[in-house]
C-alpha cells in the first residue's frame, strides 16, 4: 500500500489537462474513487493502483506520494474495495460436482471423454486460429501512413482500430507526434494533446478509423518516425500500435503510393476506403480526384503546388 497526496494528484491532473474520467479509465477505477483520492478521503491505495495513477498522470510514483507518509498500512483500504471484483469463494461447489463417481471414471468411458475433449479443443482451435479476425483477442490498432510526403503539405496518418469483441470497449489511444512535425487536426477530435502526444479516450465497436494530420516545415528533408500505444479496459498492458512506422520526404503526393506521378484506380480506391464515412477537408480529396482524372501530376517546388497533366 502507498499513501498518496491527493492535492498533488489533482494539481498534476489539472495542469496536464486530464479529466477524472481519463485517469479513472487508465487506473480502472471509478471517477468517484479518483475524486476521493484527490479529496484525501482515501489517501492510502494499493501500490498497483498507485503505479497506474502515476502512469495516467505521466509522472513517477514518488511524485504523487505523501512525502510525510511513504508506505502505509492496510487501513483505509475501503476506497478500492468498492471498485474491485472478487471471485466467489465457493469451495463447496467443486465438491458437489465431483462428490459422486463421475461418469468418466467408469470403465470404458474415459476414452470417449478424451475424444470429445480433443474434438471440442480442435473446434475451438480451428475457430480461433484459422479465422484471422477471431485470432485477435484484444483491440489492435494498425497505423497506415504513406511511405512519402511533400514537406509543408498535410500528411494524414490513419489508425485502423479493430475490436474483436461484439461489444463496445473503452480504449486509450496515444500517438506521439513525430519530431520535426506539427499536429494540425484529428478525427475524431482527440481528448487532448499533451507533450507532443495525441490522445483519444473513447469507446470503439468493431472496426473504426481514426486519423490525424501533421505538417512539417517546407524546408524539412528527412524521415519522420511514428510510435504509439493502445490500452484497453481489460487491465492489459498498453500494446504498441502496429503497421507503418516511418515516412520520408519526397516529391510525390502521399496518395501516390508507388511514386509514379499518377493516381491510379487502386490508389484512389485505397484513399476512399480509408475515409469512407468522412470527407476530411484537410486532405483536399477534390484535388486528389482531379489528379486521378488526369494523366498524371507534377509537384512544382517553386509554386508549392501540384500541376495536373490532362
Amino acid at each position: 500500500m502507498v499513501k498518496i497526496d491527493g492535492t498533488k494528484v489533482r494539481a498534476i491532473r489539472e495542469q496536464k489537462g486530464l479529466t477524472q474520467l481519463y485517469v479513472a479509465t487508465v487506473v480502472e477505477v471509478t471517477t468517484d474513487t479518483v475524486s476521493r483520492w484527490e479529496n484525501k478521503r482515501y489517501p492510502t491505495i494499493k501500490k498497483e493502483n498507485g503505479l497506474r495513477l502515476a502512469e495516467a498522470l505521466e509522472v513517477e510514483l514518488s511524485e504523487i506520494l505523501d512525502a510525510a507518509a511513504g508506505v502505509a498500512s492496510t487501513e483505509n483500504d475501503a476506497s478500492e474495495s468498492a471498485d474491485q471484483t472478487h471471485p466467489s469463494q465457493d469451495g463447496n461447489s467443486a465438491e458437489g460436482i465431483f462428490a459422486t463417481d463421475p461418469w468418466y471414471h467408469r470403465p470404458g468411458h474415459l476414452s470417449i471423454f478424451v475424444v470429445i475433449a480433443a474434438l471440442v479443443g480442435g473446434v475451438w482451435a480451428a475457430l480461433h486460429y484459422l479465422s484471422p479476425e477471431a485470432s485477435i483477442s484484444e483491440t489492435t490498432v494498425t497505423r497506415v501512413v504513406s511511405p512519402h510526403f511533400i514537406p509543408g503539405k498535410p500528411l494524414p496518418v490513419f489508425l485502423k482500430i479493430a475490436n474483436p469483441s461484439p461489444e463496445a470497449v473503452s480504449i486509450i489511444l496515444k500517438e506521439e507526434v513525430p519530431d520535426d512535425s506539427t499536429f494540425t487536426a484529428a478525427f475524431p477530435s482527440s481528448s487532448g494533446i499533451i507533450a507532443g502526444t495525441v490522445k483519444w479516450l473513447t469507446k470503439v465497436t468493431g472496426s473504426e478509423l481514426f486519423y490525424y494530420t501533421i505538417t512539417t516545415d517546407p524546408s524539412f528533408n528527412g524521415t519522420l518516425s511514428f510510435a504509439g500505444s493502445v490500452r484497453g479496459s481489460n487491465g492489459s498492458q498498453p500494446a504498441e500500435i502496429l503497421g507503418d512506422v516511418s515516412t520520408r520526404t519526397s516529391l510525390h503526393h502521399w496518395a501516390d503510393i508507388d511514386g509514379d506521378n499518377r493516381i491510379s484506380d487502386e490508389e484512389i480506391l485505397r484513399v476512399y476506403d480509408l475515409v469512407a464515412n468522412e470527407t476530411p477537408s484537410a486532405l483536399d480529396l477534390d484535388l486528389l480526384e482531379e489528379m486521378w482524372l488526369g494523366e498524371g501530376y507534377q509537384w512544382q517546388p517553386e509554386q508549392r503546388q501540384f500541376s495536373i497533366l490532362p
Binding site: 475424444v115 472496426s207 487502386e266 480526384e289
Partner: protein, 137 residues
Amino acid sequence: MGSPIQYPTPYVLLATLGALLLGSTSVDCVAGQVAATLNRDNQNLILEVSVPSPPPSSIIAGIKLPKNTKIVGTSPKSAKIDLKRSSVKWLVKNPRPGTQRFSASTSPPADFTKVSAEILYRAPGGGSLIKVDAQKR
C-alpha cells in the same frame, strides 16, 4: 438398470466437427460480391452493377471500347473519359446496395464483341482490391 447409454462414436463426432468448421467458414462465402452485366441498346452500352450489402466504400465502373470509337455521352456524367484508351470510368463513393446503372453512347455504334467492362473495388473492411469483369448479355 436400463440399457447402457449409447455414446456417439468418434465418426459422428468427427462429422459434427466438420459441420462446425464448415459453418464457421460459410460466413465468408455468404458475404456478397459486386456483380456486373453489360448490355447494348442501339448506340448505348449499358452497364448494370449489383452492389451487395454491406457495400464497398467506393467502386470504379469502367467500359473499354474498341479503338476509333468515340464516346458522345454518358449517364450519369462520367468521371473520366480517356480518349487515348477509348475508355470511360465512373467513380462512385459510398454506393448504396442494389443495382446501379451506367450507360455510354458511342459513335459509331461500338462493336459489342470488342467491348468490355469491369468493376474495381476494395472488399469492405479494408480488404484487398477486387476486379470483376462484367458479363455480356
